[in-house]
């Protein structure tokens, strides 16, 4: 697999990587080590501290810089002579159009969102370039291959929609901590600090109560001369006390539920005439608004500690105050951001106070941040393994042949490509199950004549037309070789540079390998001849032809028998070895023609 001729074959390939994050860093490294020489990489992101535990091409000193560019520089240190072209840009931008995609032999995705994945999938379909798609969450990861006309595309299988909650669960009847987080983040935080014109369901339940809606609007506005401490207490009492009281008045709601308990400021800070507020001065060390912290000013440090109701109340009031004192300009324009410390503190405290009302277990800031920010669990090992699998798949992707299918004849493919470039002596060519051409001593003359007639036909005029997007399978029984060729239609060719009117790209023209004492190698990855996507067929090994139906290869200590039935069209590597510590969600439930999953702990 790693033989010399394979390396030189890889050299000719031009690959596009989308994403230079967790998978991207590992992938770029493995591609470079594997011998790829022309790699293009797109990523719009800049480096953050929380990336550094796994995105090993980045250092503390790179925080804030372009991922694509820093990744390139880091890899050039150990592979200085290869070409890496970085783009610090959004892959959805207009520069990356179908023509841009067409220049690549394969596209490798290491993305973190559905939207961009779908976009790249569509461009790959339009440009007829094979796509290797991937994703990881914690110990889970998977790799799928998408080739137009041959496998499912990325969107052929429905993807799980992001979790949503009924409005009344959030506004009135939370039963899980996540409901309290959504309330704190999307309703309360948005109401107090976000766009005032946005519709907000925060007070939806009190609309039918005695208070008029005018009153409701007033509640959240800080009055001109209102003391900030007084304002904080008023908000506190309104959202945790008064609003719960209103909700309780609707008896129907609580017939089969536990009744929540209204919480008022005076209940918590009973004997303290004025609240022991934090020392804002502790925040004065810097004027950087992003480093303002309510935890710091009330003297709490550990994000792993679960705060008491009183501590949460203190943080809540402190955070509210700090927003008005230190970040007043931003009020009205803020949206929740998981990297905004003060926002995370505010949301954690508010969610916990609400959870107390409803008898839901409290959570620490670390956990609350994960829920509020939809943070995807990530470790280096899974990314490294997945990147390895991506490269293995990338090497297996088929050859592509650009040809004018309205002018060129089948004979051109046989002579100029299959015999001369791929070095086959007795080839057969298949289009699906249809045999277009074959050779052999035992064929009768009628058949040979019909093949000769077919060979002189124009590709698109064959009974079984060969057009753009067609995948041909070429076989040489004597060489035990087989490969797939992806046809791309092209109208014009440069007569000087491309006199044959064909452009074959992929892993072509590998120098022939060492002849090994006359024994035929059983390596199924090209050590027997030139051209290396070819895979020899052997009796003792499963045949794996890219894009063809594959047999299951799923192995583990606890092999899951049920999957044995659904083996066709799916390759799945599952190293299932342990407990599910986390509620892990498969990022994609890919089900395509070539599909690998790792589930590992």
């Amino acid at each position: 697999m790693a033989s010399e001729n394979h390396f030189s074959a890889i050299k000719g390939a031009k690959v596009l990587m989308v994403g230079a994050g967790g998978i991207g860093c590992e992938l770029l490294k493995t591609l470079a080590l594997s011998g790829f020489q022309d790699i293009h990489i797109i990523d719009m992101d800049t480096i953050e501290v929380s990336n550094l535990n796994r995105q090993f091409l980045f250092r503390q000193s790179h925080v804030g810089q372009s991922k694509a560019k820093v990744a390139r520089d880091a890899v050039l240190k150990f592979r200085p002579h290869i070409s890496i072209t970085p783009y610090h840009a959004n892959v959805k931008g207009p520069d990356f159009d179908v023509d841009f995609f067409k220049q690549f032999n394969v596209v490798l995705n290491g993305l973190d969102n559905l939207d961009a994945r779908r976009h790249v999938n569509r461009l790959c379909l339009a440009a007829e370039v094979p796509l290797v798609e991937s994703g990881t969450t914690g110990f889970l990861g998977q790799v799928t291959v998408h080739i137009k006309g041959k496998t499912e595309c990325y969107e052929c299988q429905p993807k799980p929609a992001p979790k949503t909650y009924p409005v009344c669960t959030i506004t009135s009847t939370p039963s899980k901590f996540v409901h309290c987080i959504v309330w704190a983040k999307d309703l309360l935080f948005a109401k107090l600090f976000g766009d005032k014109n946005q519709e907000n369901d925060l007070n939806v339940r009190s609309g039918d109560a005695a208070s008029s809606s005018d009153h409701v609007e007033d509640v959240f506005e800080r009055k001109n001369d209102e003391d900030i401490e007084q304002y904080g207490r008023r908000i506190y009492d309104h959202v945790f006390g008064y609003n719960i009281g209103i909700a309780l008045s609707n008896e129907e709601t609580w017939k089969n539920r536990n009744r929540p308990k209204p919480i008022y400021y005076r209940d918590i800070f009973d004997n303290e005439p004025t609240q022991q507020n934090g020392n804002v001065d502790r925040n004065c060390a810097t004027n950087d608004p992003s480093s303002v912290s309510a935890m710091a000013s009330v003297g709490m440090k550990n994000p792993q500690d679960v705060w008491s109701l009183k501590e949460n109340s203190r943080i809540f009031l402190e955070a509210l105050k700090l927003f008005f004192m230190k970040r007043e300009k931003e009020i009205g324009n803020l949206t929740f951001d998981k990297d905004d410390q003060l926002a995370v503190e505010f949301v954690t405290a508010a969610a916990n106070i609400r959870a107390s009302s409803f008898g839901i277990a409290l959570h620490n800031l670390f956990e609350a941040k994960g829920i509020a920010g939809n943070i995807v669990h990530a470790v280096a090992t899974t990314n490294a393994i997945i990147a390895g699998l991506i490269v293995i798949e990338a090497i297996k992707t088929p050859l592509s042949l650009e040809i004018n299918t309205n002018r060129a004849k089948l004979r051109d493919i046989i002579e100029k490509v299959v015999k001369s470039k791929l070095g086959m002596s007795s080839p057969s060519i298949m289009h699906g199950t249809e045999i277009l051409y074959e050779t052999g001593d035992d064929l009768d003359e009628d058949l040979l004549a019909s093949y000769a007639a077919k060979a002189d036909k124009v590709l698109s005029e064959l009974n079984c037309p060969v057009v753009g997007g067609t995948m041909l399978t070429v076989n040489d029984l004597y060489q035990e070789l087989r490969c797939n060729i992806n046809i791309k239609h092209r109208e014009e060719f440069d007569e000087e540079k491309e006199p044959d009117g064909i452009v074959l790209s992929g892993w072509t023209q590998a120098p022939s390998s060492v002849e090994n004492n006359g024994t035929k190698s059983v390596d199924n990855a090209g050590s027997t001849s030139e051209g290396s996507t070819m895979e020899a067929e052997k009796n003792d090994e499963i045949e794996i032809v890219p894009g063809k139906k594959r047999k299951l290869s799923e192995v583990s200590e606890d092999v899951i028998p049920s999957n044995a039935e659904e083996t066709k069209g799916k390759e799945k590597l599952e190293v299932l070895n342990g407990d599910d510590d986390d509620d892990l969600v498969m990022l994609d439930d890919g089900d395509s023609g070539a599909d690998k999953k790792i589930r590992y702990q």
Partner: protein
């Protein structure tokens, strides 16, 4: 637990992985000491993974100088002769690894591992050996087992598209989540010597218990695992018999390797066809590592070591084999009877 709390810096850096394995596992990692012997591409991958994970310390042993082969799959060595000239592999990799995570102490120890005494190993919690002979593997495993403390021992090797990991955790206690509950478990491991002494012909029978429900796939899996294990065994023994340095075989050795295979199969009363000559030939002619396989094997080994240190989750027992030509990874338990699972 005072003084054991993760610092603010640690919490920020390790945020995403603490969400995977928890703060207590992260604390245990930060106190673990790892020894690595023999640095090739797979071990470079492994070192990267555990340095990023935030272990306490990593000690590297490899006095060899940089060769073209060493550069081929190792991203820790800068490709600049001015930088690498005169330095050992361990020193060069140490410089790069330090950079990955300033919170991990990475250092170099000089010398031949087989000459280190038992006392030396007592400083470590995990020992990983690569590119060394069968005899050295056995010897180091024995030394680790002599210590009063429990030391996790791993060997790892990659050749061409194949990779293999062996694990000896002696007696390993750990916890795992089963549904909502946390249960305590215990596993007893065979030593390297015991494991490789298990007669080959008994393997399929043992394995068939594991794969009870899957008759069709079964035969295939068993065959494949064994093939890789046996190939590695044959090559290891060849190196031992011929007094070769690990990995120092070439196409000229093929007849000798094939002859040895025949003898081994006879001695083990195993049909020769179980070990295809073609695969042996592939491994003999191309002993180089294939970088994607290094990433996969190094990733799995990294995760296994993290599991062993944190005492969380079922660890691998006791062989793992992977072949990129068919994309299969297989865990095989090959233990002597007295330590059987």
């Amino acid at each position: 637990m005072d003084g054991d709390e993760l610092t603010e810096q640690e919490t920020a850096l390790y945020d995403r992985q603490i969400r995977v394995w928890g703060a207590d596992a992260q604390r245990r990692l930060s106190k673990a000491h790892i020894l690595v012997y023999g640095i090739k591409g797979t071990v470079a991958e492994f070192c990267k993974n555990i340095v990023l994970a935030g272990v306490g310390s990593l000690t590297l042993v490899d006095d060899r100088e940089v060769t073209e082969e060493a550069l081929s799959a190792n991203f820790l060595i800068p490709s600049d002769e001015n930088v690498y000239a005169g330095k050992t592999l361990a020193e060069l990799c140490c410089d790069s690894l330090k950079d990955f995570n300033p919170m991990v102490r990475v250092s170099v120890e000089k010398g031949d591992l087989s000459s280190f005494d038992v006392e030396f190993f007592s400083k470590f919690d995990v020992v990983v050996v690569c590119c060394c002979s069968l005899t050295t593997k056995k010897l180091i495993n024995e030394k680790c087992r002599k210590l009063p403390k429990r030391l996790a021992f791993y060997t790892v090797d990659c050749k061409d598209s194949c990779g293999e990991i062996f694990v000896d955790l002696q007696l390993h206690r750990y916890s795992k989540k089963k549904l909502e509950e946390t249960v305590e478990c215990e596993l007893k491991y065979s030593s390297f010597e015991e494991a490789i002494s298990v007669p080959w012909r008994t393997l399929p029978r043992k394995a068939s218990k594991v794969y009870f429900a899957m008759r069709d796939l079964l035969a295939f899996h068993e065959e494949l695992t064994e093939i890789i294990l046996m190939l590695v065994s044959v090559l290891e023994r060849f190196e031992e018999v011929e007094g070769r340095r690990p990995g120092e075989v070439s196409i000229e050795d093929l007849p000798g390797v094939l002859k040895l295979k025949k003898e081994l199969c006879e001695a083990q009363s195993l049909n020769e066809s179980h070990i295809p000559n073609g695969l042996l030939e592939r491994l003999v002619t191309n002993a180089r590592e294939f970088p994607p396989v290094c990433a996969i094997i190094g990733g799995i080994l990294g995760q296994e070591v993290i599991k062993a240190i944190s005492g969380k989750g079922d660890p691998l027992k006791n062989f793992f084999c992977f072949d990129a030509t068919d994309g299969k990874g297989i865990i095989e338990d090959i233990s002597s009877c007295n330590t059987g699972s």
